[in-house]
Amino acid sequence: MNSDSPLLVLWDKCCRLMVLALRSLWLHKLRASLSVLGIIIGTAAVISLMAFGEGSMHDALEDIKRQGATNIIVRSIKPPDDGSSQRRSFTVTYGLTYADFERFQMVSSVIGSVPMRIVDPQEIRRMQYMHRGRVVGTTAAYQNINKIQLVMGRFLVDADEEEGDGDDVGMRNVCVLGSDVAEAMFPFESPLGQTVVLNKHLFVVVGVLAERMPTGAVGGSSVSAEEFNNDVYIPLRTCRGRYGERIYIRQSGARSGEQVELHQVTLTVTDMDQVRTTGDAVRDLLERNHLKKDWGVTVPLDRLEAAERQKQRFTVLLVFIASISLFVGGIGIMNIMLATVTERTREIGIRRALGAKRRDITFQFLIEAIVQTSVGGLFGVLLGLGIVYGVPYAAEQFFNSHLPAKLHVLSIFLSLGVSICVGVLFGWYPAQRASRLDPIEALRHE
């Protein structure tokens, strides 16, 4: 009597049954593909949804990181009309002041600060070229805090703020162009050392920024996105001198003006742990010095954490959707397996007569279901990979839109594992049913 180790015997049986299952799948290609369609779609959905979710979340996180996790952004916000609307034509003065900027320096954990004056879309001209862009008056520190990359020339330097050795009124008329502006102004030549016209004054181009992704708009409505590519940077001092502090807007016939000293101050804090407390300190400082709520404090770190929380919620939702589609797929498998059991009753009878035990029959049909779902899962993974790599490519090619997708390697194993589990779960009942058939009845079955 030949007696091998039971484990080896089991493995041998497994291999045989898998080959048999694959063979019968191949024999009934159409039926098999229809029955595992649910699994295929489910798996592909898990992989692609996870990839797109991960991709967009990744983009959002990158975006926040670009703003700087150790940064605090303080902005001027036009306060709501407080019933003094009769003074329609008067100039509204609000926002951060130079005094505020000085006060921020006194907070001990602040190691860097950048003041910004933002002059809303201005015409930038050079010969026949014209472009509308944001003019930003700022200082050299802006480069570090916003991690500005230059393709040529230099960014603003501290010396640009100094008086003298500039034009007739001692201002330095230099500017650094964003990539889009540079492209529009100087399509065929290097902009360095050339001049552009801003508000009737000539500015010498000293540097050009590398193209970069815009940072997303910050939660609150008052805080707009930073674009970079459409910006022109000039020294803060020059900006004050050339544009002044009042900006007049013509609005439905009425002229209204506003006077803002600084539109934004970006503060850098020593480390991430300090960001919250410093943010509170800054708020406190502003509350004490401003009568109106004409300022806003944004801490990107808060957004980072909110985004991470959202990512978790998103993952839970995805798992839920995936489990629904795989559940539906599993029902498809169960349905076809039940039909198969009926169809193969005679085969079951033959096998039973030739010595198959109940558990052999259970095992056979279970393996068959698992093979079906895992083959379906494999095709689903392929389809999912196709979607993850194909759709963003197509979107870029045909619609010129950026669709972030980041393949999650874990999702492949997860969805394959779940497919196999679905096979076990939904193959169990039909397999049990097959094994319970009476061999004599089964043999008589036509």
């Binding site: 045989r16 007569a353 043999l443």
Partner: protein, 253 residues
């Protein structure tokens, strides 16, 4: 007791098959069908028994019981020295895969398997690995029944006679103590029937114990012993002094 390594001890001593007062009742909705009403029978090793009788006589029920596919309502069935009538389902499967060979009227081959693979099936359930050796044995058996050149054919590609030969090879692969044949020639023409019966007679002469159900007298004429049944009883049990194949083989050599 683990069923896994369960190997019943069978002696091939007096009587491969001994059944004592076997009763089988089928409980239908309202009535109880008494298929076997106390049947006793002993089959010696090397016997070739033809079981005859009109339909409803209980011969199929008896064959199912002999084949360990069913359990009797009462009575005992000793296969060798084992009392099979009390066994669990798994133990019966074990008995079937080790000690019994089946030949059916409609061949009952597995359509998705080739000839060799079909012959191999009973070995699949013997809790051992299939080796090159077992595969060789299957090929030898296929050659024995005259299908050495059709090893990789599927049942659909074979004639009825050829399919039945595969079934016979399959019934031999586990070297059974008892071969059970249920109208093995029922679906075949007379010439093919003859060939199949010659094969069975040859096996019997080589020492195989065969019990065959048939309702054709000229098929029963191949057996050494003819048992006739009626209404769940054994009506007659007579030896056949001149079985067909025996003479044929004797005259041939």
């Amino acid at each position: 007791m683990s069923f896994h390594n369960y190997t019943p001890v069978l002696s091939t001593m007096p009587g491969v098959v001994r059944i004592l007062d076997l009763v089988k009742n089928y409980e239908l909705e309202a009535v109880t069908v008494r298929a076997l009403r106390g049947v006793s029978l002993t089959v010696e090793e090397g016997d070739f028994l033809a079981l005859m009788g009109p339909s409803g006589s209980g011969k199929s029920t008896l064959l199912n019981l002999l084949g360990c596919l069913d359990r009797p309502t009462s009575g005992n069935y000793y296969l060798g020295e084992e009392d099979v009538s009390e066994m669990e389902d798994d133990q019966l499967s074990e008995i079937r895969s080790r000690y019994l060979g089946f030949i059916f009227q409609s061949y009952n081959l597995l359509a998705q398997y080739t000839v060799v693979e079909n012959i191999e099936v009973p070995l699949l359930y013997q809790d051992r690995r299939l080796s090159e050796e077992t595969r060789r044995r299957c090929v030898e058996l296929a050659e024995l029944v005259g299908l050495g050149d059709r090893l990789d054919h599927r049942p659909m590609q074979l004639s009825g006679g050829q399919q039945q030969r595969v079934a016979i090879a399959r019934a031999l692969v586990n070297d059974p103590h008892l071969i059970l044949a249920d109208e093995p020639t029922g679906n075949l023409d007379s010439r093919t029937s003859d060939e199949i019966m010659q094969l069975l007679a040859k096996l019997n002469q080589a020492g195989k114990t065969i019990i065959m159900v048939t309702h054709e007298t000229d098929i029963a004429a191949w057996a050494r012993r003819v048992v006739r049944m009626r209404d769940g009883h054994i009506e007659s049990d007579e030896p056949n002094p001149h079985p067909n194949g025996h003479i044929a083989l004797v005259t041939r050599h």
